[in-house]
């Protein structure tokens, strides 16, 4: 890569990244939607189900508020990823994207800038929620925090990539909302975020095992209970969780890149 080519890659990526940040924080309702909504869900379900929910084999006092914590964290990552990738559709519809597409910038830089932007937003929102761990009675050490941060980053990247992949070919935000309700939310519901696989029917268990998000949720849970052998039986090892999450992130990026290389119908309107 020659010097000029590198410059046509770095600066454009950075500027697209920067724009995601500015836009997100200028639209307060998005910040609230992506962070406050999951927290409200968490509190309502956590206190509502409270002690009537029991993880198989869990110690006393391990209520739903605690179980649902990791799930809520992933929900925050997912929601922020969705909100930031919806902007791809808006950018296309409003015309902003055209100007980016005719600039001397490769698609790699465009996809990377956009996905890293969404990743950073999801990641930061996740960090804010992570500060709530003491209230759930979980204590984290440096090692477990590092692990959770790493997993959160990978998962944010993977989910933003997934959002990008879907949004790139969409012509309307309504279409994206439909996909969100029919695909993305179930993806999260069936990841062990809301209920453990152990009590679910065989078919759901099978789906959950195939769902890459399951391994991310599981990895975060392992971070939260770093020194404990986890009560939820049948959970994959840390290595497997980390490996699947890395693969998930890479796959989403590669697929997004492939999608962005092709001219879509939306470009022709």
């Amino acid at each position: 890569m020659s010097n000029t080519e590198r410059n046509y890659f770095l600066l454009p990526s950075l500027t697209l990244f920067w724009r995601e940040m500015v836009r997100f924080f200028r639209q307060r309702d998005r910040v609230v939607g992506a962070l406050a909504t999951p927290i409200v869900f968490w509190l309502l379900l956590g206190f509502g189900l409270g002690k009537s929910f029991k993880t198989p084999g869990a110690p006393e006092g391990h209520g739903y508020l605690e179980y649902f914590y990791a799930g809520t964290l992933v929900m925050i990552l997912l929601f922020t990823a969705i909100f930031s990738t919806i902007s791809v559709i808006e950018d296309r519809r409003e015309g902003f994207l055209q100007a980016v597409l005719v600039a001397p910038v490769g698609r790699f830089a465009i996809v990377l800038g956009k996905i890293l932007g969404g990743t950073a937003l999801a990641f930061v929102q996740g960090l804010i929620f992570l500060a709530l761990t003491p209230f759930v009675g979980l204590s984290l050490n440096a090692e477990s925090i590092l692990w959770i941060i790493g997993v959160m980053f990978l998962l944010s990247f993977a989910l933003t990539g997934l959002g990008f992949l879907i949004a790139w070919r969409m012509e309307s935000t309504q279409g994206f909302h439909a996909i969100m309700n029919l695909f993305l939310i179930p993806l999260w519901l069936l990841s062990g975020a809301v209920f453990p696989a152990t009590g679910a029917p065989a078919i759901l268990r099978w789906v959950m095992n195939c769902n890459p998000v399951t391994y991310g949720v599981s990895a975060i849970r392992q971070g939260l209970y770093w020194n404990l052998t986890l009560p939820a039986a049948g959970m994959p090892s840390r290595t497997v969780n980390l490996f699947v999450t890395i693969l998930f992130a890479i796959a989403m990026f590669v697929l997004s890149l492939a999608a962005a290389q092709r001219t879509t119908r939306g470009d022709l309107q």
Partner: protein, 310 residues
């Protein structure tokens, strides 16, 4: 014309089975203000997309600055400024932020970028609005920022898609003054699409596109001169019958369009008298005008230019 800046050779483009462009060829020289005129759906937007490197043509070749528009995209992209019909500004960003973002995409940064931004904002009279969000600007102001955005990296060619759409006549006039200044002061080549006759009339040269075909290519004046003399339009009870009678009697072409008989003729004012005397009682109203681009279009295509906005 020496070495053309833009060379379009037999370009055909299809969307599925629909042919949007049918073997279009023309050349544009450095320093021209060139218009692609045509009704909506005529193919000009497709051609615009090809020229701006967004779409590769199905057939044919396009060279700009000697580079192939498909194979050497990067070289071309660095040298062209593109102003789309749909606003490309981010409304949630300020004027400056939009320009800075654009500059970064073209690898401009730091002091150079700042200087260039100041220069353009000054030139377009937007310096005092630089820190305002784009969503607070008027339509005309946004157009100026769009233009500044397209010019930021000092392109040699400026491509504009329907630049006047949605602008009131005063702002349109302002825009065409800007474009002329860009050509005169910066030696820029400007290529725009339009469906407005008056806008095309102010351009140096134009190509008329209809249903994907190039139907005329020349300066506005030459095109109008081809018609020769005047255009007479006759409102008659039985236009078809009258048209045939006129053709027979005067040995000239008279065609019916939208219920009117149209005749192209030198010294039209004298001919009107003859006409009215020759067909008493058949003529309801008669009018005469100097040829316009619309008349050129009708002559070339046999139908009215229906893309005109009212």
């Amino acid at each position: 014309m020496n070495e053309p800046l833009l060379d379009v050779e037999a370009v055909t483009h299809r969307y599925g089975t629909r042919t949007a462009l049918n073997s279009v060829s023309f050349q544009v020289a450095r320093g021209e203000i060139f218009a692609l005129l045509g009704p909506n759906g005529g193919g000009k937007t497709t051609l615009f997309r090809i020229l701006s490197t967004l779409v590769a043509p199905s057939e044919g070749r396009v060279h700009m600055f000697g580079y192939d528009v498909v194979l050497q995209q990067g070289e071309i992209r660095r040298r062209i400024g593109v102003v789309f019909q749909a606003p490309s500004l981010d409304r949630k960003l300020t004027v400056s932020e939009n320009l800075r973002h654009q500059g970064h995409l073209y690898n401009l940064h730091g002091h150079d970028l700042q200087k260039r931004m100041d220069e353009l904002l000054e030139r377009f009279g937007m310096a005092d609005r630089r820190n305002d969000l784009v969503e607070t600007l008027s339509g005309g102001q946004r157009r100026r920022v769009e233009l500044a955005k397209g010019l930021l990296h000092k392109p040699q060619v400026l491509l504009l898609d329907e630049p006047s759409t949605g602008l009131d006549p005063r702002v349109r006039r302002e825009l065409s003054d800007y474009l002329e200044r860009l050509r005169d002061e910066d030696g820029m080549t400007i290529l725009l699409t339009t469906h407005l006759m008056e806008e095309a009339d102010r351009c140096g040269r134009l190509a008329i596109l209809d249903r994907g075909k190039l139907v005329a290519l020349s300066t506005p004046q030459e095109l109008k001169d081809q018609i020769g003399g005047d255009v007479i339009s006759v409102d008659a009870k039985q236009p078809q019958v009258l048209a045939e009678q006129i053709s027979k009697r005067f040995g000239m072409e008279a065609r019916v369009l939208d219920g009117n008989v149209r005749i192209e003729r030198n010294n039209g004012h004298k001919f009107i008298t003859e006409l009215v005397e020759a067909f008493p009682g058949q003529i309801e109203a008669i009018s005469i005008h100097k040829p316009t681009l619309e008349d050129v279009f009708i002559r070339m295509t046999g139908h009215r230019f229906d893309g005109e906005e009212t």
